[in-house]
Symmetry: C2
DNA sequence: CATAATCTGTGTAATTTTGCACATGTACTT
DNA sequence: AAGTACATGTGCAAAATTACACAGATTATG
């Protein structure tokens, strides 16, 4: 059953009773209406209307079509209302992603957003792989590292995330407390895998020529924090993870260690109030010091 | 909500996930599909799909549309099935009309047809006014008198209906039994109104110069029979009405009294098996002597 | 009875829609 | 690493659709 527009034309003819009236409602010439009806009847192999001087009277098939098309018209109208209105309301699904290490600081904020908008259903996906906004996998993504440059993405700078160089109590018990003097020789680092080799604190290590001391590598910031906690070495850990794991700070956050963090949304969804609500809440939480500290 | 065809296009894109796939299903060029989607999104003011190199992923609005359009597609398919199949099966409504006087002889035949086709719902409308086939008021009409010549009607000769010149017992009691000799002077005729003045037995009266003896006129053959029965005069009555009312035959049916009877169907409906079934049954009943006797 | 008002129906021209060719980009495979 | 397959997107020409104008027919009206 193709050509739905012809069904719509027939629907208006059946409702109005005349070709001319239907043409006016549809905003087309009455000749167009006649041809639509003729084509539709030819395709169905049945007369939908009986033609007479006063107009078109629907046959049995015509009244059947009228009822079905009436229901369709209603459903499409409701659909259009929902779609046009959905840009205004904060409701429905919202998928937000980040790397796993952000979960501890992001989750409370998302919980608050969800509490403020009961109609909103938040799905927070964490993982090291890149959730792709252009595939509809997420609405909002929190990315860290160098600025994303995907053409279809709207990128906003969220915060510069500091990291502490930390050691776990178990590590200190075995290797002693690292100091500026003995770090160059006697200590083991937890570092990043090749995939994250451009992290700013990575270049700090390589600038000092300490690459050989990196004995544990991971592609995930979360795993790095876990490794430090388990005593695999000293490494760079976010402030909240340092507190959570009760780590000992060796070197406080340095300006050139910070990794910029970005809020990324897809351009098609960026203007929707649903996305905007979440973006604003996240930025406010950062400004108030509720996140990434 | 106009342009239903664009909704159908979007439906196929959402279902297939790619523009190219949808274009193949729809039998149009993929550029056409892209333009349909663009137009629909522009009209709705919302993105229905997120575009990426692997195809189109429906947004929230897109999945909403997908569900509605899926239901529409189903309904239209069922509708087409019903309409296309309806030409084959003998089912649904069938409206047949005639003048009231035929009711007694037509009804049993219609009852038999209805019994043979349980899915058929017969409506038998009687009345003197012309039920107009082209307005969809009836599927089959039994007409008497001169041959109808409406261009959109299919006319078949059904039977030549004889009439008896009769008198009621009450009339004979008051005026005596009419005979060939005294009819010219002493008897009163029940005749036809101007609207039926072309009835063949009418010209028999006028040929004999007996118009002045017509003292009761009616536009309905049924009423004429009733008038004769009630003793208003002598008049022309169909065989079954003569028997029903137990009238006395004055003059037996004459060859030039017969009024031809026609089976009329609208050309648009004539080929449907539903109409054909009824037409065949009526003609068979006449041939077997079950009607108009 | 004639006139006005509608409505359907068709040939023709203008407009819109569609199809084609080609460019471009991404994912997968060898 | 290069090639293949498949996807979207756009300028331009062809085709299909539409609007226009007018004819024909019926109903309503004074």
């Amino acid at each position: 059953m193709d050509n739905w527009d012809e069904i719509r034309t027939a629907f208006q003819v059946a409702r109005n009773g005349t070709v001319s009236g239907a043409a006016e409602v549809l905003g087309v010439h009455h000749a167009t209406v006649i041809r639509h009806i003729d084509a539709l009847e030819a395709q169905l192999g049945t007369k939908l209307f009986q033609r007479h001087a006063r107009g078109y009277t629907p046959t049995e098939a015509g009244t059947d079509l009228l009822q079905v098309a009436q229901a369709t018209d209603d459903q499409f109208s409701q659909l259009a209302g929902r779609i046009k209105g959905q840009g205004q309301g904060v409701a429905g699904d919202l998928v937000i992603t980040s790397i796993a290490v952000f979960a501890g600081t992001v989750s409370p904020i998302l919980a608050q957003i969800q509490a403020d908008h009961p109609a909103l259903k938040i799905r927070y996906l964490t993982g090291e792989r890149l959730f792709r906004l252009e595939y509809g996998e997420a609405h909002v993504a929190i990315r860290s590292g160098r600025a994303p440059d995907q053409p279809d993405n709207v990128v906003q700078h969220l915060v510069d995330m500091p990291v502490h160089l930390c050691a776990a109590p178990s590590y200190i018990a075995r290797h002693g407390l690292p100091s500026a003097e003995n770090m160059a020789d006697h200590h083991i680092f937890v570092g990043t895998d090749e995939s994250m080799s451009r992290a700013p604190f990575n270049s700090w290590i390589s600038d000092l020529g300490w690459e050989k001391q990196v004995r544990f590598q991971s592609d995930s910031t979360m795993t790095m924090a876990e490794a430090v906690y388990s005593g695999a070495g000293i490494g760079f850990v976010s402030p909240w993870k340092m507190r959570e794991f009760d780590l000992t700070e060796i070197v406080p956050p340095q300006p050139d260690w910070v990794t910029p963090t970005w809020l990324v949304t897809h351009v098609d969804l960026h203007r929707t109030s649903k996305v905007q609500t979440v973006v604003k809440a996240l930025k406010a939480a950062v400004a108030n010091g509720h996140m990434f500290r």
